[in-house]
C-alpha cells in the first residue's frame, strides 16, 4: 500500500492522488480505490456479487476475466435433503465451464457503471444423453451510487452504496437443453455497507437486496419443440421465476504489501416463494431456490514482487465455493480462475 505514495509511478497511482482534489469536493482518501478493487475480486462468483459498498472513483477502471468450473453430482430437494442430481447418474451430471467478463468504471466519483457478460458452456447428462450448450448468457448492467456523499456524510472508514442493475438476455434460445440463461429480464437492488481497517489493509462488507424476476421474455427466443420427437429442446413454458432476496458478505486482507490478497466469502439467495417446482437435467435452472454458499479466495499480484510496475495491478486469482445449505438447487462445488486488472480510463 505504501507504494501508492509514489506519485511518479504511472497509471492509477498518480490519478488516485490527483483525485484527492476531485471536483466533487469530496476528495476521497486514497485507500478508497484499494478497497473498491479488492472487494471487486469477489464480483465473479456463483451468484454475481452485485452488492458492493465502495463506488469507484472517477475514471477508475476494473476488469476481470475468469473461467468457472462448477460441477454438481447432487441436488438439494425441496426440503433440503441431498439426492442425486439425476437419478442413477454417477459423477458430475452438471458441469458449467464458462467464461466471464466483469468490468466497472467510475463515471463520477460516486457513480460507477458495471457491466458483466458470461460466455456460458454448460453440459448436463442423464442416463442416456449428454446435452451441451454454448452461448452468450444474460449480460448484467448496473449502476452503483455512493450513499454517504448523497446524504452529506463525510467519507470515513465506513462506506455505503446502492447497487441497481438488470440482467438482460442476449437473444439466446431459452428452451434449449440446457439453456444459457433464464431467458427473462430481471432487475436487482442491493445496499452494500463496508468497513475498512486502514492502515491495516483489510475490510469487511455485507450487502442485502432484492431481485425482481420480471417474466418478460422478449429478449430471448424459443425454437419450435415437439415433445416426444425433439431432444435438444424442451417445451417453451416461460416459467414464472420467484423473486429473490439476495445476501452477501465478505472479508479481505492483503499481505506482503499487496502481493497476496485473501478473502472469505459468503452468498445467499432466498426465493420469496417456497421451493415447489423442481428442475431437471434438461432445464437445470430452478424457478424457486434457496441456498447459501461459503467460499474463499486467493489473488496474487506477482509483478509487485518483480517491481514491474507497469503490470503491478495485474492479479491472478482463484476462488472456491461449497454449498452447505440449499433447497431446490444444485449442490455444486464452484471454482473460478481469473485474471484481473485495475487502472484508470478517461479520468
Amino acid at each position: 500500500m505504501g507504494q501508492r505514495r509514489d506519485s511518479k509511478k504511472p497509471g492509477m497511482i498518480a490519478h488516485t492522488i490527483r483525485n484527492r482534489k476531485s471536483h466533487t469536493g469530496w476528495g476521497q482518501p486514497r485507500w478508497i480505490g484499494t478497497f473498491v478493487a479488492l472487494a471487486l475480486i469477489g464480483a465473479l462468483t456463483p451468484a454475481p456479487a452485485w452488492g458492493q459498498a465502495w463506488p469507484a472513483s472517477r475514471g477508475a477502471f476494473y476488469a476481470k476475466v475468469a473461467r468457472s468450473d462448477i460441477r454438481a453430482s447432487d441436488q438439494f430437494t425441496f426440503d433440503g435433503r441431498r439426492s442425486d442430481f439425476i437419478d442413477g447418474v454417477a459423477g458430475n451430471a452438471f458441469v458449467d465451464q464458462s467464461y466471464h467478463l466483469y468490468t466497472e468504471w467510475g463515471l463520477l466519483d460516486n457513480l460507477t457503471v458495471v457491466l458483466s457478460a458470461p460466455f456460458k458452456q454448460l453440459a448436463v447428462h442423464d442416463l442416456a444423453f449428454r446435452y451441451e450448450t454454448a452461448a452468450i448468457g444474460s449480460v448484467s448492467i448496473g449502476l452503483r451510487f455512493g450513499l454517504f456523499p448523497l446524504l452529506g456524510i463525510r467519507p470515513s472508514a465506513i462506506a455505503m452504496a446502492m447497487n441497481l442493475g438488470a440482467t438482460v438476455p442476449t437473444g439466446y434460445t431459452r428452451n434449449l437443453t440446457p439453456s444459457a440463461g433464464a431467458g427473462q429480464v430481471d432487475a436487482h437492488a442491493l445496499i452494500g455497507i463496508g468497513l475498512s481497517f486502514w492502515p491495516t489493509a483489510a475490510y469487511v462488507q455485507a450487502a442485502g437486496g432484492y431481485r425482481y424476476r420480471s417474466s418478460y421474455y422478449g429478449l430471448s427466443k424459443a425454437v419450435a419443440c415437439t415433445a416426444g420427437v425433439d431432444l435438444f429442446c424442451i417445451r417453451d413454458t416461460r416459467p414464472a421465476f420467484g423473486d429473490e432476496w439476495l445476501f452477501q458478505a465478505e472479508a479481505g486482507l492483503t499481505l506482503l504489501s499487496g502481493t497476496f490478497f485473501v478473502q472469505a466469502l459468503g452468498q445467499g439467495v432466498w426465493s420469496v416463494e417456497t421451493p415447489r417446482i423442481g428442475f431437471t437435467a434438461l432445464n437445470p435452472i430452478p424457478t424457486h431456490q434457496r441456498y447459501f454458499k461459503a467460499g474463499a479466495g486467493l489473488t496474487v499480484y506477482p509483478f509487485k514482487l518483480t517491481r514491474a510496475f507497469r503490470f503491478e495491478n495485474v492479479g491472478f486469482g482463484v476462488q472456491a465455493f461449497l454449498t452447505p445449505y440449499g433447497r431446490n438447487t444444485i449442490d455444486s462445488q464452484d471454482f473460478f480462475f481469473g485474471i484481473d486488472f485495475r487502472g484508470d480510463f478517461l479520468r
Binding site: G11, L127, E132
Partner: protein, 384 residues
Amino acid sequence: MSMIDSPGRADVSRRTFVVRLGTAALGIALTPMAGCETNSVAPFVEGTDIPFLTPLTDPNPDRAFFVQYGADGTVENWAGPRQIARDSWGLTIDGLVATPRTFSYADLLRFSGEAVRLVSTLRCIVDSTFVPGLISTTLFTGIPLRLVLEAAGVDAAARRIRIYGADGFTNNLRVLEAMGPFAAEQVEPLLVYQMGDAPLTPDHGFPVRLLVPGQYGYKSVKWVTRLEATADDSAFGSYQQALGYTDDGRVQVVNKATNPLRNAQLSAGPVAIFGYALSGMAGIERVEVSIDDAPFAAASLVDLPEVLSANPTLRSTLQVDNASRFPYPFRGVWALWQHPWTATAGAHTIRIRAIDRAGNTQPETDEVVEDGENPIFRINVTVT
C-alpha cells in the same frame, strides 16, 4: 490504461465515450447473438466406430453391454441383482408336466453336447428415442430350453410356460415359442450360461439366464429358477402386468443412427451417416436414408466378411456355420450400415428407415411405447 497514456485519447471526450458506452450496452442487450449459440445432444453410443460385438466391460460403463434390473421400485417385488452360487442354483420345472423336476447346474451341463453358441442382440423394450443405449450384441452359449421342458414332459394342455427369476422378475413364453416348431431364420430359446465366451457375470444372471433371440430383453429372464407349465393362456409377467407392456415380445424393425449427432453443427463436405438396424421378425433387408424429404436412397449394409474380419470370434457361431439356414443379416441381430453424404451449407433433416425381409418397416411416428418404440429415425443438423 493504455488509452489514458495514448496521445490520441483527447479525441474521445467523456461525453462521447459515455454515449458510446450506453449505446454499446444497449446493443449488447438487444442484439440477438444467436450466431454464437451452439447446442448438441449426444447419446452415449455414438460415432462411426460402433463395435459389432458390444464389450461386456468397458472403462466407460455406458459403452458396455447394458444392464437392467429391479430394486428401483418401478415393479413391485422386483429386486436387484442376485448373488447365487453355481452349486446352490437349481431350475424347477413344474405345473402341467408329467414329471416335475429340478435341474442342478451339473444336470444342465449333461445337455452340453447340444449346446449352442450364437450371436444375438438384446434390445430392452424401454430403449427409445429418449432412452437409447439399451441395446447390445454379444455371443451367447447355452442349452436349448426345449430339452429341459421335454425332459419334464410338458402336458399337451399347456399353453404357456411361466418363467420366474430369483430376483422376483417374471415373464412367460407360449409353449410354441419355447418348444417349437421354429420358423426359418429363427433361433430357439436357450438356457444361457456364457456371454462373450465367459461365465455370466452376476449382473447378467449368473449362473443361468434365459435368452429368447429376436424378442425384447424382458423375455430373457435372468437368474432363472422356475418354469411353470400352465393351461392359462393369459399374459403373465412383471412388465406386462405392472407396466402394461405388450405380451408379444418380438422386436419390431428399428434403426438408430449413431453419427452424426442430433442437432450437430457440421462442416460442409463429406459426412458419414452411420448406425445400426434390427428386427426380431426377420433379417434386415435394407436401410434407406432421405435428406430433406428427398426420395429415400439405399444405405450400405456392412457385409458379413467385413464383420467377420473385425470380429473373428463370430466364425464358429450357429448362424455363421449354417449360412443357408441363417442368411446375413441375421434375424434378431443388428446390422451395421453406413451412408455417405456430401453436406451442403444450411439446415438439414436426415430421415432413416429400415425394412426387414418380411417387409416390415418403421412408421413415420410411433406414439405407442407399450410395444417398443420404432419411428423413422430423424436427425436435424446445421451445416456451415
